[in-house]
Symmetry: C2
Subunit: 334 residues, 2 copies
């Protein structure tokens, strides 16, 4: 169904996506703010364009914005008149916050053709030289919609991801996405940074570093990535991160009080509270874990809610039999 | 110098140590509270004994207590009369808190022959069946002493670790050890547990879990290990953990306030505060990183302070030329 995809930005995420799509037989046109990756990208079968107008002349079914978030307003402004001439083209992106991107897209007058997306893929590297089609192996994408999203627009992006990229999707509204991302990534990045700050402030930091092993290495890995990029990510999801940081601070203070008072029963309760996640994790990670699949009918009205509830049950869409019949994978719930 | 080593407890840590010492030509006698590992241990060249009295009859130069901390008082009581008849034998242990163990050792009247030790080695497994001599590859041990420790006792344990186990050591007092371990392990274990508790309490926990990737996986790995074992470790180092938890809570609250107030300058400062650790880490982890070695003279009086200051500078002892000349490795400081 998708014939040509336009990729805006050939960094780690965009470059990896472009290379994966080419390998899987999709025609890919690309534009990057600097042309340095073009020779290698062309050798990989990606048609590189010197302007966004040229990219749009290739009549892409979907344009995927893989540019940095800070470049979003200017790129959207440049795309606005081009997309007006190409009503079939659906616009999507790969940003790690979705509410803010939709606001920018709407401000640019492009809300009608937009469906949000966020692939759960990435590593500590960046740039075209790190691009690798295997970055998306087994990845899950969040696809974000609102009450005004046309189903055909959603279905185009969902088909691209499930069929052409061969990944799974869950469908969310922007707020649910941004809250979830704050929970499992944005807030923990702040916590990881606070850990290394605490070490630096410790008078016996060299002794502590010498004693450190696997626990410390794993818990501070994300604090070693570019702190400016992390800060931007956190500030873009500020409200959700703020709420979770206050909850975490309250938990840590409660444990400190329990230790102070020798309240062993409360500490025991604290350490047991995460058991549902431990059980979920061992079920999902079991070497023989396999997940049943079944069909899910997508209604014409209220399809957004149907798909959101499916995601809340822990299900993910792996493909479509037809636009109204999705195939979902059933995973253990927490 | 060390001819025979007695190992008390053939779990992951004791079993791995026993197997490594046998491979490196040391005679190892062992006792375990249950005899189920004995057939395999004997096949590996470990002489298994049915009582602690039999173990002591082998006249070990060093006895290493690798039993669980909760068994410590009863084992120390049983060893007391046996060690009285074997004044040459030095007692050490591998516990993850050192102040409490020394208190127990002193309470048993065994302070004179004791030197503390804590190998920075381990994994999420436990028991003899997981014992592996490679567990100690490149490991660093903390060796803990106090003002009353006889240098000969220290030197016996230090030689065992550097020469026979082929590991590095840093020399600390109990308090410095327990504060450092709280910083890089005990407190972070609480933080990791608080993260999974927060997810479990989140109404959209299944969505959040679906969105989770490397950051979440790494930051919650230690929360998946046996929560009772983690709780015991935290409670044994309660005061140090309490202080650090309050500091972490204050940091997280400060960032929440900054995000609330849009105080970008303060948030930028928060994300930059860990830079000294980032620089240290990239220096230590560089593929071509190599560390100069030099000799350190160990004075007869005040040797504890000399070795503690060396550890505080980021140095580690790799061996000895003679009892008064240590070889130290110079690592970047934070």
């Amino acid at each position: 169904m998708v014939d040509t995809v336009g990729i805006v930005g050939l960094g780690l995420i965009g470059g990896s996506l472009a290379r994966r799509l080419v390998r899987r037989g999709v025609r890919v046109v690309a534009w990057n703010h600097r042309s340095h990756p073009y020779a290698q990208a062309e050798a990989d079968g990606i048609y590189c364009k010197s302007t966004l107008a040229e990219l749009m002349s290739a009549e892409p079914d979907v344009v995927v914005l893989c540019n940095p978030l800070k470049a979003m307003p200017s790129i959207l402004a440049e795309l606005k008149p081009l997309l007006a001439k190409s009503p079939r083209t659906t616009l999507t992106d790969v940003g790690s916050v979705k509410g803010m991107v939709r606001d920018q897209v709407k401000a640019a007058g492009l809300g009608e053709c937009y469906v949000g997306a966020h692939p759960m893929a990435g590593n500590e590297l960046s740039g075209w030289q790190a691009a690798d089609p295997h970055l998306y192996d087994d990845a899950l994408w969040a696809v974000t919609v609102d009450e005004d999203t046309a189903y055909q627009r959603f279905y185009t992006v969902a088909s691209l991801i499930t069929h052409d990229v061969a990944n799974r999707i869950i469908v969310l509204d922007d707020e649910t996405h941004d809250k979830g991302a704050a929970m499992i990534s944005h807030m923990p990045h702040v916590v990881s940074t606070a850990l290394i700050n605490e070490l630096v402030a410790n008078p016996d930091r060299n002794v502590a570093a010498a004693l450190s092993a696997g626990c410390w290495r794993d818990m501070t890995r994300v604090a070693l990535t570019d702190p400016d990029r992390t800060r931007a990510m956190v500030e873009e999801d500020a409200l959700n991160v703020e709420i979770l940081l206050r909850r975490m601070a309250a938990q840590l203070t409660a444990v400190a009080d329990q230790l102070h008072n020798g309240d062993a029963a409360a500490t025991k309760q604290f350490f047991a509270a995460g058991d549902p996640f431990r059980r979920y994790k061992s079920a999902v990670a079991a070497p023989d874990a396999s997940f049943a699949r079944q069909e899910l009918e997508v209604p014409e009205r209220g399809w957004q809610q149907t798909l959101l509830f499916s995601a809340r049950r822990g299900e993910a869409i792996t493909g479509f039999i037809n636009p109204r019949q999705a195939i979902i994978e059933l995973r253990p719930a927490i």
